[in-house]
């Protein structure tokens, strides 16, 4: 299984003071690609704020890997299947769910997004009993892109114990 973290992070190793113009050009292309991918990532969080599942899903390859990192060491399913169900469940249980994008940075073929997610629980969710409480939790979303700048994997990490605790569980 090819994981988000399998690829090296784009480091070029030791600095060679006489890098050729071609290498410069390649680095420049990578840089512009990063800008495009950051824009796509921002679009995801904008759609998430609007709770617009279809807009969110349009950014992904539905067969891409979906990985909730606190719940296991491997991706648990596909974006088109598990991802869609997960976000539909989140939006259903936390109808005022919202986010703040703290920063978006590139790391090789991945875009790493540091996000604050917050919302109020109105229904049981993933084994967490609804007590009508509000959470505010830092999350890291890692999107991996293919050469066509489509998101082909997503991994999400957060402090699950703190999340449960805030919701009274």
């Amino acid at each position: 299984m090819s994981h988000l973290y399998n690829k090296p992070s784009g480091s070029s190793g030791n600095f060679d003071h006489h890098l050729t113009r071609n290498v410069m050009k390649t680095a420049q292309t990578e840089s512009i690609t990063d800008l495009t991918r950051k824009g796509t990532s921002i679009e995801f969080f904008s759609a998430y704020q609007e709770r617009d599942i279809e807009r969110m899903m349009a950014l992904f390859d539905p067969n891409g890997e979906f990985w909730l990192m606190p719940l296991g060491p491997d991706p648990q399913g596909t974006i088109g299947d598990l991802g869609r169900n997960f976000w539909t469940g989140v939006i259903g249980a936390f109808p005022d769910i919202d986010n703040t994008v703290d920063k978006v940075t590139a790391d090789g073929d991945k875009i790493v997004c540091n996000i604050a997610l917050f919302g109020t629980q109105t229904a049981d969710f993933a084994g967490i009993t609804n007590k009508g409480l509000r959470f505010n939790s830092d999350h890291i979303f890692i999107f991996r892109f293919n050469e066509d700048d489509k998101i082909v994997a997503v991994a999400i990490d957060w402090d699950h114990a703190s999340f449960q605790h805030q919701l009274g569980n």
Binding site: S9, G10, S11, S12, G13, N14, F15, H17, L19, V23, M24, A27, Q28, S31, I32, D34, L35, K38, G39, I42, S46, Q49, D98, T100, V101, D102, K103, V104, T105, A106, D107, N114, A116
Partner: protein
Amino acid sequence: MFYRKYQPAPHLRPFVECYYIWENAQSLTQPMTVESPPSGYGSLVFNYGDSYGLHTQKRGTTLVPTSFLCGQSTSSYQLELLGQIGMVGAVFRPAGLNSLFGLPMYEFTDERVELAAVLGDRIKTVQERIAEPNTTSGRIQLLEAFLTTQLARSGAETDRTDYIANRIVEQRGMININELMDELYVCRRQFERKFLLKVGVSPKYYARIRRISYLCAQLANQRWNVNDWHDVIYRAGYYDQSHFIREFSGFMGRNPSLYVRNNVELANFLKS
């Protein structure tokens, strides 16, 4: 080693914090590493010396474009220099690059992007003229003339986001963002979106950058001689020692005591 800052003309001050020139009289025969904490400012930089490398924790070492635009840095970085140092830069107020050039600054966070790729071919003439033999003030004038033209072309004006970002700078990051939003009657979601677009990070994250930046500037001013860490921590507005160490290590890549002992910031190489 020659490093000097210059004030911009009054009409550019709402957007430009300062200009700088960095040169060395004698060519470096051995590689030299100079590190910098995140400053909270983006910049345009033109290199007329030898090419040099940039080392970050995330990307390792990469070659820096000859002239580039960089957005907010979210961690410390190191420049790896050899040969002739020669660069002139414009340092922008937190929302200044967006106001002048209309760029979505979140795209440029932790990036150095070649200027021609961002601004098109019109920058090439400026690049060429800066690279020609010139005086320090001549290069600053070229840079300022370019920015003045850009100001006229864009009709840029500052707005509420510029004001808020500048206030975060003035208050050294020690500011309650929620209270600030209430005070200014701004809608949180719109305000955060605009701030991300204009500055490159969220308002709260920007306040964290400014706080660490101010603290590092204070440490450099006292040549990294720290008699009382509690006083440093208190003055920078951290809750307690563990909060401070976590923040410092997160931004700087090593703990504070290690940093004050072995950092290679530019101030180490300049006469005090």
